[in-house]
Structure formats: C-alpha cells, structure tokens
Symmetry: C2
C-alpha cells in the first residue's frame, strides 16, 4: 500500500504493497487512485502483463481443482467492493475471464430480499461460498452490511457496531477451513466516478447501467468513504487482509487483482494428486480393447 | 447433419447442418466423428475462427443481459452430453471461456445424491436453470436419466420409457418461457476415446481425471450408443433440437458449438433497452457536482 508521493517498493510482492495494515485509522483521500505502485506503468504494458498471467493462473486453478478431487479442501474467495462504477463488474469480466469458468463460483449480492432480511446478515453469504477447489468471487459482499447499512442507517447503530467483530470471526473461521480470503477495495476518485457516469449517460449502449439514483448517491460520497475507512481499519486482519487497489486506471486494476490472485495461488502451491491406480496395468487393459 | 460421404452444404446455417431430424431411427456409427462438415477445415483455421467469434459472442451476451434488466425474460440453455472424454469439460473451458463469466450459470451434474433421488428426476434440473439474461450450461443433464439409467437399469423400464415424453414436455415449457434450448451431443469414436484415456494414463498431470472404471465402462459402449440413438430420435424436437457435433477434433468441436451459440443468439437479436431517464437532465445534474 503506497501513499501519495511514496516510491514503489520494487521487489516486494504486490500483496505487501497493497495490503491495508488494519487497526490504524485510514484516510482514503491520501491514496492516489491513479497510482501504479508496482508492475506495468502504462496501458500497453498492462495489457501485455495481463496476457502473460493467463497461462500461470489457469495452470494454478487447474491444480487447485485437481487437488480437491483427492480431498484437498482449499479454495479461494475474492471479495470485490467499491463505489458505483469502481469496476467490480469489469473485474469479473476481465480478471475472472482468464480462468476456467467451470471452477468459478460467482455471486453478485444485491439489496437483500425480504427472506434474506429475515435471517442474520451472514446467512446469504454462507450459502454462496466456494466449494473445495473453487475460486469464489463476491461482487459486493457481507461488507454491504457495514457500508450501505451504516450510511443509510438500515440497522440500529449498536447492531452495526457488532457486525465488524462478527465479520472478523466469520472470516477467521473461513481461513481455518481452508478458504484463502482476498478482499479488494477498488478505490476510485470522485472525479473518476463522474467521468464514468457521464460515459453511461452519453452512450446509448450503456444506458441500461445507469440509474438516476446514482447521481443522488454522490451526495453521500463522504459518508461512504468514511464507512469504507472504518471497514478497512477494523476488518483488515492477518487471516483476511484488505487490499487497496488504485482503480482509476482499469488496466492497472485488472493487472493488480490478477497479480494478487497469482501470488495467493502460488502460495497455496496446489499439487496434482498422485495416481490412485496402477498405471501400467491400466495401460495394458486399455490397449486390449 | 451430414452423413459420411455427403458434401458440406456451404451457405446453410450450421444449425441446419448439424440438427438431428428427430422421429427417425438414428445410426450413430454412420456419422464420421472426424468430419468438419462446414466452417474451418484445419486446426489453425479453426483456432482463428474461434478468435473471430469472441467479440460478437460477448457483444450478444451483453445485449441479452442488458435486455433482461428491462424485463426481457429470454435466456439460453446449452446442454452438453457425450461419452467419457468427449469434451464436455473442454467445451466449458474453451467455448464458455469466451463469455463474460458473470452472465453464465454452469452446472455439472454428477450421479444424483440420495436427496436428489428422493425427488422426481427433473427436480434438480429445474433448480439449476439459467435466469433471464443468462447463458446456462449443463455439463450432463436430465438426459442421464435416459442414458446411464437405461444402460445400467437404474429405474424400471416402464419408468424410463415415460421419461422421454416428460423431457419433451419439460423442454417445451422451457421454450414457452423464453429459454432457447441448444442440446449438443459430442460424438467421438471408440478409438478416439481410447487415445484420450491413454493420454490421461500417460501424463501424471492428467491422472486425476482417470478412473479405472472408465475402462470397464468401455464394455458398455454399444449400449450407450444405442441409448443415445433413442434419446436423439425421441427428443430432438422443433422447440429443443439436438445437434450432432463431430467431436474427435477438439478445435472443430469448439468452433461448431461456438458457432451454434452465435447463430441462436443472433436469432434472438437482443436489444439494449431504451433510456428510462431524461438524458439531458441527467448530464446537467451530474456536471453540477
């Protein structure tokens, strides 16, 4: 995680550079949303670097899946959060698009239904978790229950205060059950959001993505930033850290999240399982018929 | 659908060429599994043609999704069936990999669980259907209930006989509810299956895909072919036709299924919805803040 003006720590893993320390007050405005703290420095280099990541990512995903067929319970959960237009959907398209879709479990969380509201807030989250060997992706998540819920006072203040601890306990239990949790906050600037909303207004093929309420919501920008600061401060833990992704440049956002996935998957080092059959015998029998 | 020795009907849509007529006895052995009845004739051309399909497919998928946000209930269901190693998984990886994963709902059906067996055979199928705007993919499907169920006598013969009609009624109701059903039988030869199983035995990184029972199952090849012939004959209907995909050549299989998806999606001609807001007013308000 690099503040404005600091130099990129070349040689450090990206996960160290972008990691939110946690436990310390955050000031989101002090982070440059256009920064490229490590890796490719311009769009052509960024797109090329993405292409280079495709094969190793697909290879690691296949190993993770293969290992699960022999009892390895490990899996990965990528959590995407950010303001409207910050690129959660674009990340799924471009980053998750690099993976074999059969091993991905994607869930986009909307405003909770009446049935979901009748349950504890983690109920719907638990139902959408990745299975062993899978890459799970949450487009929005349980963090909405301390973000929009806080900003719009959708629950009593004391209840919302309790949720941070409950989230930390939940994520610790995930980690204990073999889930690698990677939480990415896609950080864009107020001006960048205006530009992206303008594009949705100006292009008829983007009108379906635009809602007049998106403009009203901009009045709540400071309250949302504050809610994000609290969530990052309180819930960036050793077992489930937050990563702060400078997201004004889409090509950098895509590369950075892909790179984070690579670092985590490499760290898991999943292995193809050993044959549970007699290879020579199988070959002989197969060639007989 | 082109029999051995027939010429490719250039100019005809692929869906007409590969469509199983239905209602007539099928002889799967008379179809050349290495044939390339239309389109690219060799692997380099096939891979290039796939690349060319990526953008139009993604565009049509986005339109289908966008239309659903304005109430269009249409969606697509791709059903993949075929013998072991016929390439169902490879199709998901390479063909569905061309699409935005967030709009795809993939389900791989395994042997039914005790809970699933306690319900009618279509129960688990109905739960996995694509929602409006989505591309659903079934890797195996309700057809297993007239394939493996028939070959291994997993249900009384009279019950299995009833299922063909039930499947036809079910698929007709899907079609009536805006689901475009595209059923692909990936047709490989007995020798091609041996070659693919051998590769799984010879490569340690493929061992996890191999089961000794795959060799035992080869003894049932003729019974399975017969069960497929019946399913194709009885369940290739105007509202949910079967397509016979020559699948010995992976690049052709991938291109053919991609092309079938393109033809169907183009036929649906989904449109971006019109703006439901005042464009000028929205632009003015946005530029104010």
């Amino acid at each position: 995680m690099t503040k404005k003006g600091s130099t990129a720590g070349d040689g450090l893993a990206l996960r160290e550079l972008l990691r939110v320390p946690g436990g310390k007050p955050m000031d989101l405005a002090s982070y440059d949303t256009r920064k490229t703290p490590a890796g490719p420095r311009d769009k052509p280099a960024g797109l090329a670097a993405m292409t280079d990541l495709a094969t190793p990512l697909a290879d690691l995903q296949e190993r993770l899946w293969a290992a699960s067929t022999a009892g390895d319970r490990r899996r990965v959960l990528l959590v995407l959060q950010g303001m409207d237009t910050s690129g959660k959907g674009g990340t799924v398209k471009h980053v998750i698009g690099l993976f074999n879709p059969s091993g991905c479990r994607i869930h986009a969380f909307k405003a909770p239904t009446p049935k979901e509201r009748a349950h504890p807030f983690l109920w719907r989250i638990k139902k959408a978790l990745p299975q062993a060997g899978e890459l799970g992706i949450f487009d929005r998540s349980h963090y909405e229950d301390v973000l929009v819920a806080r900003v719009r006072a959708l629950a009593p203040a004391a209840e919302i205060e309790r949720r941070y601890d409950e989230i930390n306990r939940f994520e610790r239990s995930l980690a204990g059950n073999g889930v690698t949790v990677i939480k990415c906050f896609l950080h864009i600037s107020y001006d960048q959001q205006r530009d992206r909303l303008l594009k949705r207004i100006d292009r008829p093929d983007k009108h379906w993505k635009f809602h007049v309420s998106d403009i009203d919501d901009r009045a709540l920008w400071p309250a949302y930033q504050q809610a994000y600061e609290l969530a990052l401060e309180r819930c960036s833990t050793p077992h489930a850290p937050w990563y702060l992704i400078p997201a004004d440049r889409k090509w950098y956002r895509n590369w950075a999240i892909s790179r984070l996935l690579l670092e985590h998957l490499s760290g898991l080092d999943p292995r193809y399982p050993k044959a549970d059959f007699d290879v020579e015998e199988a070959r002989r029998r197969l060639l007989e018929k």
